[in-house]
Amino acid sequence: MEIFELTVHELHEKLKKKELSSVEATEAMLGRIEATDGKVNAFITVCNEEALESAREADKRIAEGRMDILTGIPIALKDIFLTKGIRTTCASRMLGNFIPPYDATAWIKLKERGAVLLGKLNQDEFAMGSSCESSAFGTTRNPWNQECIPGGSSGGSAAAIAAQQAAATLGTDTGGSIRQPASHCGCVGLKPTYGRVSRYGVIAYASSLDQVGPMTRDVRDAAIMLGAVAGHDPLDSTSVERPVPDYLGSLLPDVKGLKIGLPKEYYIEGLDPDVKKAMELAIETYRGMGAEFIDISLPYTDYAVACYYLIATAEASSNLARYDGVRFGHRSGKAGSLIEMMSRSRDEGFGAEVKRRIMLGTYALSSGYYDAYYLKAQKVRTLIMQEFLKAFEKVDVILTPVAPTPAFKIGEKTSDPLQMYLSDIFTIPVNLAGTCGLSVPAGMSSDGLPIGLQLIGRPFGEEAIIRAGYAFEQATEWHKKKATI
């Protein structure tokens, strides 16, 4: 086994036993990135010098007996996380040369434990997209088939795991941006409950929906990473004061008696036959392990995409108002009044998808339309949320597909934004409800593209989905499959 194929926990064992040094592990990953990223384009910035420096620090720490499970482990971060002194672009021309003066809390937590930062990962610009095609730094390619998208918006984070370029990554999820790329790239992706992880230093897209989460090779690694970044942060007033459980304690391959809900609205006629087959097999696997299935209905599912594209775009229009060319970011070189400077800077700095969403959001919030659009969507959000909470009175977790199809071809959906938006149908409701979701590899399409299953848990019920995900993983071999680059 190559060093770059190892999971976080496997690397940790080797580092602990001094079979491997962090410098060796980091050099192996940097070498792997060098060898493969020309084809994958997962990275926007690779931090060779800083990574090796941190690795040396980590080795010193290990030698002094002060090691932690993440010490010396080479990871990478979606370029949405502010990293002090290291360029952070959010995959946008608007922030093409932005050097943050402070770190994201989630990154600080990993840094304090001695994790090594390999670099910053590609994504859809400002986290707006489901395919990684709207990046100012080119599309990331799916390591399983380079003509296909890796998913989005955390496309680089997922591709880096699939291409074995990092032991673990962090992504963000607003409408499915961790879970969907994880599914398309055959890795694990976890979106925690809203408020579980601090959003401080995470470039904001939709503040009531954004969440930080791990993307990893297996469920154990996801539990390790979640445990490391979760927790209240005084710098994020939306982070909750709940204690962080020991997620590793949920790694029990036992789902006997677990009540799994199957919402009929997610098992629709139009489901891709390979996705359908994977889900049927997954259900059989769970049944074989003693889980109980309960049919449920979530009728408001049908309204989730519409609801999301009003709330998220409205919040985005507000969040992205800060990019005006005044204090940081791109400023247009063309002369003009203050307002012209701002308008040109924004037009030049933002890509089409970002502009489209800002326009939609601005419209939905504008005078005369606010009630019919934004306020209405917020009420529908309540209905969607209540529907989930009611379902969790009867079931422990909910099992659904992650995406209606496996990864589509690059360019296939770019001419019709609405088609692209509709492909988020299974992941969006979880963000609206504010609850947690886990994507775990569950199959392969007949074309050799990964298919994930989604486990949805009740708010702050990450333990249940981690356990259900772990049990499935241990009973199957999907997570062991590797893409060949």
């Binding site: 108002a321 800002i358 326009m359």
Partner: protein, 95 residues
């Protein structure tokens, strides 16, 4: 749901986006389609439903009214496109 060119231009002004002619054309078409789709929310009766602005039940996220060191002038100006002394420089504000 028809959205007119004029409305799109108005929204672009509100959003401080200087779109060119082609972008306005494209966006008018795309926004019309998307707005048509989101109109399906009007099928639902939401009388008496409280809008959700916050995903998890939370109240009064307070902290002590103490001061802490902030970013500092040097850091704050570090990414400025144009600056002079301790100020961000912009085109004339008052005509």
């Amino acid at each position: 749901m028809r959205i007119t060119r004029k409305e799109v231009e108005h929204v672009a002004t509100l959003a401080r986006l200087k779109l060119d002619h082609e972008e306005i054309e494209t966006f008018t078409g795309q926004m019309a389609a998307i707005l048509s789709y989101v109109d399906k929310l009007s099928e639902l009766d939401t009388e008496g439903i409280i809008p959700t602005s916050h995903a998890v039940p939370m109240e009064n996220a307070f902290r002590p009214d103490d001061t802490y060191p902030s970013l500092g002038t040097e850091n704050a100006l570090a990414n400025a496109p144009d600056k002079t002394d301790d100020f961000f420089k912009v085109p004339k504000v008052i005509e």
